[in-house]
């Protein structure tokens, strides 16, 4: 409830500067959206999978748990990344359905190829799982600074890695990153507004002091 309250609080404080017309027109929709995201995040019964079978979901969950493992701090599993990916594949990432439909059987083959005694990825030990993932991880060029897609097709592993990161770090009000655990791991506070000082280096800033006068064109 805290995050919901802070959002309301933020909106109502911000409203001093927003016109009354704008506010009355948008207030119900904004509250409804916030409530919905809040309920989805807080729901104790996990939502049903729309795209994956329960068996496939278990495999995806195990895969995401090696991409962002759980250790002293939560990982992809605690952030509910498998649910984010499942929802993604039936909404904004339908183009990736084929990648997953083909990728899951290929994964199964790779598991058997490397570990003939194993039936599935989720049954492997963490070390075995990492070996399997390494065998799927064909390096590509570095990502741009802002994660816009470049239109190039991507492998099953690339899609899975990107969507695991998305599901772990997306704004918790936007349908992933359950309970904001991903942001807790990286140390990002969840408030919608911040006041300075922001960090260690600006907390003892003495205020702006003018530069000494200088002749132009140094170089």
């Amino acid at each position: 409830m805290i995050d919901n309250l802070s959002r309301r609080d933020f909106l109502s404080r911000g409203s001093a500067a927003v016109s009354a017309v704008w506010l009355s027109a948008h207030w119900p929709a904004m509250v409804a959206a916030a409530e919905h995201a809040h309920q989805a995040a807080k729901s104790t019964t996990p939502p049903k999978f729309q795209f994956f079978t329960p068996e496939e979901a278990a495999e995806i969950d195990a895969l995401t748990a090696r991409i962002i493992p759980s250790d002293e701090t939560p990982g992809a599993r605690e952030a509910g990344v498998v649910y984010f990916i499942d929802r993604a594949l039936t909404t904004f990432a339908v183009d990736d359905q084929k990648t997953y439909r083909e990728g899951l059987p290929a994964l199964q083959s790779r598991v058997r190829e490397l570990f003939p005694n194993l039936e599935k990825f989720s049954a492997a030990t963490p070390d075995q799982q990492d070996q399997i993932l390494h065998s799927l991880d064909e390096q590509t060029g570095p990502a741009g600074r802002h994660s816009r897609p470049n239109g190039a097709s991507r492998s099953f592993f690339q899609a899975l890695r990107v969507q695991t990161i998305q599901g772990f770090l997306i704004d918790p009000d936007s349908g992933g990153n359950r309970d904001g655990v991903g942001w807790k791991v990286i140390g990002r506070d969840r408030e919608h507004m911040f006041q300075p000082p922001f960090g260690y280096y600006d907390k003892d800033y003495a205020g702006w002091q003018p530069n000494p006068p200088e002749e132009k064109a140094k170089a």
Partner: protein
């Protein structure tokens, strides 16, 4: 949703049709409607408002909520005109009411005197067609001041010894300093440089109907949900609508400008949301569609009189594209900066704005700023040191440790105008409406890459002086992606080498005007939006004067 708004029929011959509602189009709409003209603004994107601006990185970045849509609007790239262009994402621009000003970083530097007279000062540069502007800094100064006061720009006058003269201080103080800014300021002063508070088109104090910045941390690439970012949406568009003389018509994709037998343009043809075509009639047309779409629209509007593109008797429409050179150096520090809080940039320096080619061995100059402009997913995808694994325990640990301890130095600089660098129509690739797609042809002038290397060295010196634990620079490489879209319909006195005159009127067509990044003659030092907006205010004055004395007929 919005109050009763002005509507015109397409058959109404309005005074002006403006194509595009971004940095230039928004201001043009405000000024012309304030001056009593009837105005229709045709914007290809949707009319989103603050309620639509979310912090959802997937929706905003991966799905291009606010920007051009690669699936509907494919593009292609090649380095030189002899090559066959390959389909690839080649540019990003704002595609919504307010245009790119909705999602931009909001760095708001004025150009300096040198930017307008550089050809005279440094002479010709081999491999480029560097030219002076037909106007000077002094001509534009009143309009820079007008931009600062009308839309709201925060900053500190006189803080940089390299600043050009100004007639008035900023209307409001700078935004608060971030940890990245303090680190930057201290280190720069150790080196004898002159850091100063970055001028930003973000409110440090509230204005009617708009909040001051609340430091939410979703700034670059995102729309501002409290109206603190001084986008055209939050400023000029609303003022224009209040006049009762201006209609903003979203989801209207202009693909042709019509012309009559007398050589006058008669209006703009656009597809509505259902892909029905309409002609909006107008006495004059002002194209503010950005440095890629403005030349494309002229090329798409070729007719009998102008077989190579409307107003393109010079043949330079789409050419002399400049993208601004430069890149990023990242650094990690011992203690948390928490630089994700707030807007992107709080400190900047212009010590290398005006380099002497005789001393450094290349043409150019730039500015370096301290920033953190990435949100969590983007940081995880592109913000970790080279060599960090892409998944697993080490990935997670590095991500968790570095997110709060990382900052960036962004080096911005000049690009030279090279004739073969251009936006043109791809001969094969089509958009979702069946129209020729944009083709980007670009190969950086060698001096632009030398400048980048020079600035990278300064950035690394600064980070050494700052005691960074770790630092790394983006590799210096030739551009193949366009963000700043400059120079493609440049201004000039000579109709053979330029597209518009200093009134922004096309040399070829009396009632056709162009104003946006395409108008620029030189690239400036990396932050063009302030100049684009000052040009828009000035152009609106010139166009108003011409219209009032009956010179558009």
């Amino acid at each position: 949703m919005r109050p009763d708004l002005t509507k015109y029929k397409t058959s109404d011959e309005v005074d002006f049709v403006i194509v595009g509602s971004g940095a230039a189009g928004g201001i043009m709409a405000k000024e012309l409607s304030f001056n009593g003209f009837r105005v229709v603004v045709l914007e290809q994107g949707p009319y989103l408002t603050e309620a639509d601006f979310v912090h959802d990185e997937v929706k905003v970045l991966a799905q291009d909520l606010l920007t051009n849509k690669p699936k509907l609007q494919p593009t292609s790239f090649r380095k030189t005109p002899n090559e066959k262009a390959k389909p690839q994402r080649a540019l990003v621009y704002g595609r919504c009411v307010g245009g790119t000003s909705v999602h931009f970083t909001a760095n708001f530097w004025r150009f300096h005197e040198i930017d307008f007279i550089e050809r005279t000062k440094v002479g010709p540069v081999a491999g480029a067609d560097l030219r002076d502007w037909p106007i000077t800094y002094a001509d534009l100064e009143p309009y820079y001041t007008k931009v600062e006061w009308e839309i709201g720009v925060s900053g500190l006058a006189g803080a940089s010894p390299f600043d050009p003269p100004r007639s008035k201080p900023y209307p409001m103080p700078p935004l608060p300093v971030k940890s990245s800014g303090v680190i930057f300021e201290r280190a720069a002063r150790k080196l004898g440089w002159h850091p100063f508070p970055a001028p930003m088109a973000i409110l440090s104090q509230p204005r009617p109907g708009r909040s001051a910045c609340v430091n939410c941390g979703f700034c670059l690439a995102f729309g501002c949900e409290v109206g603190a970012k001084s986008s055209s949406l939050a400023t000029a568009i609303r003022m224009a609508e209040k006049t009762g003389r201006c209609e903003i018509r979203p989801n209207s994709y202009v693909h042709r400008i019509e012309m009559d037998n007398n050589g006058r343009v008669t209006g703009a043809v656009y597809f509505d949301e259902k892909r029905n075509a309409h002609l909006q009639k107008a006495k004059a047309v002002v194209v503010c569609a950005n440095g890629a779409e403005t030349p494309r629209l002229l090329l798409l509007s070729a007719n009998k009189q102008f077989p190579n593109g409307l107003a393109n008797s010079s043949g330079v429409v789409g050419k002399y594209l400049m993208l601004n050179s430069g890149g990023v150096t990242n650094a990690v520090f011992e203690h948390p900066l928490n630089d994700y809080k707030g807007f992107a940039v709080s400190r900047l320096l212009h010590d290398f704005y005006e380099l002497d080619p005789q001393k450094v061995g290349f043409y150019g100059g730039g500015g370096i700023d301290a920033r953190f402009d990435v949100t969590p997913i983007s940081f995880a995808m592109g913000g970790l040191p080279p060599g960090t694994p892409g998944w697993g325990k080490d990935f997670k640990n590095t991500l968790a440790h570095n997110f709060n301890r990382t900052m960036e130095l962004f080096c911005h600089g000049t690009s030279l105008p090279v004739e073969t660098n251009s936006f043109s129509l791809d001969p094969d690739l089509k958009d979702a409406w069946g129209l020729p797609a944009l083709c980007l042809t670009y190969k950086d002038h060698p001096d632009d890459l030398k400048l980048w290397a020079f600035q990278n060295q300064r950035a690394n010196e600064l980070l050494d002086a700052a005691g960074a634990l770790k630092k790394w620079s983006q590799p210096i490489q030739e551009s193949q992606f366009a963000v700043h879209l400059l120079g493609t319909c440049r201004m000039g006195n000579d109709p053979k080498t330029s597209v518009i005159n200093s009134d922004h009127r096309t040399h070829d067509v009396k009632n056709l005007f162009l104003c946006d990044g395409s108008s620029l003659v030189t690239s400036g030092r990396g932050q063009p939006t302030m100049t684009i907006e000052a040009l828009a205010f000035r152009a609106a004055d010139r166009i108003t004067a011409l219209a009032k004395r009956g010179d558009l007929a």
